[in-house]
Symmetry: C2
DNA sequence: TATGGACCTTCCCATCATGGTAAGGTCAAG
DNA sequence: CTTGACCTTACCATGATGGGAAGGTCCATA
């Protein structure tokens, strides 16, 4: 099948399929006489694997490792689990960072009247008036 | 003061200060005879504003708007609040996405023995054996 | 058979925020 | 006068993806 059909079958854009080939994530596709790339069931299977891994947030390099493990009949599930746990830790770190931002911002939003006047704790906070502590600063 | 000192004072790298100038986020700095950039209190204040906004995850374009509002004595806090709420919504979307990934992965991790054998639900799931439903699939 | 349209090819550029490096200018202290 | 710390511009890289140009292939239909 041509790249477009492989793309439709896997949800990976033709652009990215070519890219994955160019960086060696997947083997170079067979070519027809027309020089068009030709994909078979195994290729589609691999692309589906990649798409699912991408959907779970794995980086290309992590996926490279996952593909190697997938093809290794002697792999230990320990290695897969370790790789995955490392990725989960990355996700946790990102979530924590975004969560802190969200918490700070939603506190500021709560304190902002949102009316026609210019006075705004959000702008003031960015301007460096004071760090954002808790709502109960004056109780200590 | 020179760019290095402004950088140290604000936590914005000299590299990024020049970059912000090049994209018009901040006005072109004054120059000394040596052609070195020269920063004053107002510049440092603005850079601090930018750094805090970056720390809260605002994009450069959002910061452009925030700077405009900051400098506008006739701004309405409504506008600031709206901009911030839009950003919080973006954060929520990202957090939700990462959270879904995390949930799926941690379920798979739980199901993976992590021993010397190759059998691994993580790899199998990526290979497309079956979609990940809940642990209680068979209860309905 | 010719043409049109859907598909493919490679190549280059853009995103976003940031960092690295190279080649060279400036300045103050020793 | 040298050394070292600082500055300048200019170019390239990241990671994953998309856009577009210029041109080749293939099939159906007029």
């Amino acid at each position: 099948m041509q790249i477009g059909e492989a793309s439709r079958a896997t949800g990976v854009s033709a652009k990215m399929i070519r890219h994955y080939e160019s960086i060696g994530l997947i083997p170079a596709a067979d070519r027809r006489d027309s020089n068009y790339r030709d994909y078979g069931a195994e290729d589609v299977h691999r692309l589906g694997f990649i798409r699912r891994a991408r959907d779970l947030g794995f980086s290309i390099e992590e996926i490279r490792d996952l593909l190697r493990l997938w093809g290794d009949r002697k792999r230990s599930s320990r290695d897969v689990k370790a790789l995955t746990l490392a990725h989960v830790a990355e996700l946790d770190a990102k979530i924590a960072l975004l969560g802190e931002m969200r918490a700070t911002l939603s506190h500021l939003v709560q304190c902002c009247d949102g009316d026609n006047r210019p006075d705004c704790p959000i702008i003031e906070s960015l301007a460096g008036a004071a760090p954002i502590h808790s709502k109960h600063m004056h109780r200590h």
